[in-house]
């Protein structure tokens, strides 16, 4: 008997890995739901104590204090906290399952200028890594291709879907450009010193970017020319229907990148990374550049930098009056579930908690261009939100009881919670 049971477990484990990759997506919201009594964190800096939040057919229909009337099923949430679903930008979630297993990696295609390469069609809606985002409150993400100069085009998805088509909430939203670096790693195997040196090809690499932009623009004006998908895909960044996400960290690189993009008629630019953006805040403000700034849990890139520079960097930009949200493109996918804590780190640096929350909700939605429906708890917007036992920005108290995407109550179980429960049972642990 025991052996059979063990065998069964083994089979389940194998099956778990290969087939049962994700919890079954929740059905569409039918009846109205009201969350009652929680502290509502709106995601725009506001807060409503003892709130009432009503949503129907996937949309928030009422939000207010205790005097707001309930409708439908009521969720008692006194002492708890409600937040908009957190949004993870500029990640390859669903494109990589296990980093070291090449067969499971679909994030980086060959070629330097390939905006026509689209992340959405490779997005694995059943990824276990994606699934593990949800119990921490991350319900939406921008799926971005990696590598190269222009690595491709991203799409924005929600994290509870049967397939990529169902997951998409904004298709082909932006093109991702990795700006050349003015300082590069020495090729020590070719006799250069170990370390970082000025990149002698920096200007040439910029010229390549400019040439591509100019050609793409010219292509858009042609009639009856032979097809060039790469140039064609750039049309959106010239007419403003797509954003150009430029990854740059150094002061000079950022200025070069923004100036070049502006000069070449790019309508909507988002800076990603921005390690030294704090030094050129007036420039960024003048050019109206929002920043998806590198997350807080990283090391300073230079020995002489303040030990807490990465901790406070987003705050410096916010204090300077820029539109800022957090990204963690530099870390492994699985780390993205720490997004709320990246924001929490800012509170220790003196940022107001609600402002910190904006950096992973309302501001992110604005920067990604999905703020018409997501990012804040406001009437008419999608009921994409979660309830936490306590402060969701702090590790100790980020404990989700419910989460909804477009009003659908999603499962908070994962491959990991299943293993936890199975082995807790094995040892009769509580």
């Amino acid at each position: 008997m025991k052996t059979i049971k063990q065998l069964l477990i083994v089979v389940l484990v194998i099956a778990g890995f290969q087939v049962l990759a994700q919890q079954t997506p929740a059905p569409a919201q039918i009846a109205a739901i009201t969350i009652k009594g929680a502290t509502a964190h709106i995601g725009n800096g506001q807060i409503i104590e003892n709130s009432t939040i009503v949503f129907e057919h996937g949309k928030i229909t009422a939000i207010g204090n205790e005097s707001t009337s309930s409708r439908g099923r009521e969720i008692e949430a006194v002492g708890k906290h409600v937040y908009p679903g957190l949004i993870a930008p500029a990640k390859a979630l669903g494109l990589i399952e296990v980093n070291a297993v090449r067969a499971s990696n679909d994030d980086d295609e060959l070629g330097d200028f390939i905006p026509n390469v689209r992340s959405l069609i490779a997005y694995n809606a059943e990824s276990k890594v994606v699934e593990s985002m949800r119990p921490n409150g991350i319900l939406l993400g921008q799926i971005a291709p990696q590598g190269g100069r222009i690595s491709g085009t991203s799409s924005i998805v929600q994290f509870d879907a049967w397939n990529w088509e169902d997951a998409a909430i904004k298709v082909d939203d932006g093109v991702h450009l990795h700006w050349p670096r003015g300082f590069r790693r020495g090729r020590w195997w070719e006799g250069e010193p170990r370390g970082y040196l000025p990149n002698k090809k920096y200007q040439i690499q910029i010229e390549e970017v400019i040439a591509f932009m100019k050609n793409a623009k010219a292509y858009g004006k042609g009639i009856g020319v032979s097809k060039n998908e790469a140039y064609g895909e750039m049309g959106g960044v010239f007419n403003g229907s797509k954003k150009l996400y430029i990854y740059a960290d150094g002061e000079r690189e950022i200025i070069d990148a923004v100036s070049t993009a502006k000069e070449n008629g790019i309508q909507s630019i988002v800076l990603v990374g921005g390690y030294q953006a704090y030094r050129i805040i007036p420039f960024l403000k003048e050019n109206n550049i929002p920043v998806l700034v590198q997350h807080t849990h990283s090391l300073p890139s230079k020995d002489d930098d303040d030990y807490d520079l990465p901790y406070k960097l987003p705050k410096l930009l916010v204090d300077g009056g820029l539109l800022v949200a957090l990204e963690n493109s530099g870390t492994s996918n699985f780390q993205t579930r720490n997004l709320p804590f990246y924001a929490g780190q800012l509170v220790g640096q003196g940022m107001d908690k609600e402002t910190a929350l904006q950096l992973i909700t309302g501001n992110t939605a604005k920067i990604l261009g999905i703020d018409d429906a997501y990012g804040t708890l406001e009437i008419g917007k999608s009921a994409t939100l979660f309830i936490s036992e306590g402060d969701a920005l702090d590790m100790r108290t980020n404990q989700l009881t419910h989460a909804f995407i477009d009003g659908r109550e999603i499962s908070l179980e994962t491959h990991q919670t299943e293993l936890w429960k199975r082995y807790s049972e094995k040892y009769n642990q509580k």
Binding site: V101, G186, R194, L197, M395, L419, Y427
Partner: protein
Amino acid sequence: MKRIQLLLSLLLFTFCGIAQDYFPKNEELKEDNNNYTAFTNATIYVTPNKVIKKGTLLIQNGKVVEAKRSVTIPQNAVVINLKGKHIYPSFIDPYTSFGIEKPKGKPGQGRSPQYEASREGFYWNDHIKPEQKGIDSFKYDKKKAAEFRKAGFGVLNTHLMDGIARGTGVLVALNDDGGDGNRIVEDVSGQFFSFEKSKASRQSYPGSLMGAMALLRQLHYDADWYSKGNVATKDRSLEALIANKGKTSFFEAGDKGNDLRADKIGDLFNLNYIIIGGGDEFEAIESIKGTNASYIIPINFPEAYDVSDPNLADYISLEDMREWNQAPANPKILSDNEITFSLTTHDLKKPSEFKNNLLKAIKYGFDETKALAALTTIPAQLLGESDKIGSLEPGRYANFLVTSGAVFDKETTLYENWVQGKKNVINSKDQKDLSGDYSLIVDGKNYELTISGKTSKPKSEVKIGETKYPSKLKYSNNWLTLSFTNEATKEIYQATGIVPKEGERITGKLLLPNGLENSFIATRTGDASEKDKEEKEDEDSKPQIMPLTYPNIGYGFVSKPKQQDMLFKNATVWTSEAEGILIETDVLVKNGEIFKIGKNLNPEDAKVIDATGKHVTAGIIDEHSHIAALSINEGGHNSSAEVSIEDVIDAEDVDIYRNLAGGVTSIQILHGSANPIGGQSAIIKLKWGEQADELIYNNSPKFIKFALGENVKQSNWQSFKRFPQTRMGVEQLYVNYFNRAKEYDTKKKSGQPFRYDEEMEVLAQILNGDRYISCHSYVQSEINMLMKVAERFGFRINTFTHILEGYKVADKMKEHGVGGSTFSDWWAYKYEVNDAIPYNAAIMAKEGVVVAINSDDGEMSRRLNQEAAKVVKYGNMTEEEAWKMVTINPAKLLHLDNRVGSIKEGKDADLVLWDDHPLSVYAKAEKTIIEGVVYFDMERDKQKRRAIKDERSTLLKMMLKEKEDGGKTKPPMKKENKHFHCETIN
């Protein structure tokens, strides 16, 4: 005394005589020249401290006969009057590769590693080549020799600069004539060692600095074993090493840390290495002095960075900028500390750079007499050849320099460099110093001519009143040629004439623009104008040198912080003991220990720190760290038990400071996970500013890293040749090694002679319970396997680190008695972590396993308080239990819980003051204290930031000026690993 001198000269004469005597000559007649040469009226430096004014140097047959105030000059002497000139013994460079080519590197990119040696009949490692004889590949290089002579050198010590044991060297005089028979002073001039692998072989081991150290130690043990006749096979490497025992040993270390490492190896085997340093010795001068070793010091002072582009300048660290500013002080500081050292051209691009660097060192305060000693008597003494070279005492080689004045003066000209009595002209000494103002009469017109600059390379300026005439001046072989142009008329005048030996007038022929010949007269009217002197004074002003800090990088201390008694008033105290969390409690620290915990404690003399609303905890302990080390993996063998991280601690890693800022006080630096049997750990306290050895715990518990799974199988990179390739093989590897260790230990304990084997020693310690294992582990099968192997050999695994599937076998772990040190929430980065869950720590802890949360990461380690908090989130641990996972639990796993890990009276005062709940993402460490010393303080950190900005700005300005003044610069660079070179194994 006289007799000895006589005997010596006789011996030497005989030597020369023999060389000539029995060689037949057919192309010319065979005749001897036994004439003397006498150099009179010179200032003679017989040695740096023995100076003879207006003395005579008498030489014959390539040797010094005598050098004295008054010498009876034999009849058959050629007399050379050196009035006003100086004579010095020529320089000796004890560390070069002159005339011996290094092997070219073997291309090996992308090919799988080579594990076995490629030679037969030699030592088992290709990088050990004591049998290599420098003389066998020596080929006298006339061109290079001339370069060295021009820089003042007469004798060079050279060897084949390749490998860890490099064999013997050659001492050679730079005498172009006469062949090797004359110029080779010594054909086995000591033996040479380094930490750098041979370029001639791709054998993987050693792949790290600590591996190179272990290999050198084992080499000496093996030589001892071999010399006692215990080995049946022939090993030509060991035989050479044994044969060369007692010869002077040179060790190329290359930086201050490696100086100490080389010395440590020397101490172990009673070898007094002469250490070739790196130029940064001044940063650790006390320890360097403590080695009691002699040094050979390069003076390749760094060039300034080109900081004209501020965006690029931004990448240069303060540490590297300071190096440019401070390094020229190295010789002075070494000499102030009475360390015996010689200088070398080693590491300079060419010998011609030597003088300028030396002058820089002198400007930085290096005494000229000591500089001369470091180039003459000291290298001679280090080489054991003082009876032949290094001075102008009777019987020494006639190796000397003739100069216009003090040898280390910028304006001094080197005229001649005599080697073995053979004259080599560098600059003609008969050249007259023409500098001065002249009245030049040409074609009836009176021009003002000013000649300035070096005697050998004078510059000219021609003018009448304010009108300048662009001119060119050439002066060689006593002839002067001057041409100048009238810019208004484009007319060119050309003058040429011989410079008379005496007198102030130069006359000669002049070619007028119209092609007619005329004559010119230039009459000296006085010394050159004042302008030059002012410039000179400016140059001679003392350089501004930045103060040294501990360690000497941006966040170092100007003065080391001191232990102090302190009282934390009114804190929330997280004891990590049964007492739990105490509210409004005081903690009194005395003499580096936690003296008392209680309410309303009397501070006595202690400094009172108001901790109202704040939290005091024990310092965080990271069981699994890789910061603060120069190398982490010795991947050259599947077992590397013989290597130790303690050998390669980097006490200057800024991550130490950053860890302190995150409340971390102790870490275990583990070997990497490349091999099933890794290397020994270093368990250190983060005493920022102290030397590496001071960081290691006293009586540190002994640990070794083991590893399982994908890394040791080499699954994730292209390597298919090394055993094991499967988890099945991993088990057998352990069984094999432990079987051997057991046999080794049995033999050792039986009293029979045995070959001392460092690797087996360490493994035997495990079997005997004297060393603990911390094993990198992921999946349950392998975890269970290793526990079974340990049980079979009668010991216990101490810690499973990572242990991501520990939750699947927590009951078995509890039964075995092993602890678990895990990540809070890492997974998905490789196949074997698919089932890693963040609930792992909680499940193991609830099952009774001692659990710690570790980092394995320089970033995460500075937020371990937050990582511990995740255990509250995942698995509902209490906050108190979670906190123990980064304090007392890792202390228990490291067997340090009697000293650190909790707030308990009598324990080390390793404490952190937090501004908020320590498990909160909002909390910051305000002070981090180790043994009563405040190593991190938020307020002091702000001052440091200010100081870094100020010093950077000062140095940037100095570098800009250096460039403006025509100094050499190099492009900005951000170093990745400051001490690593291409061939350095890390």
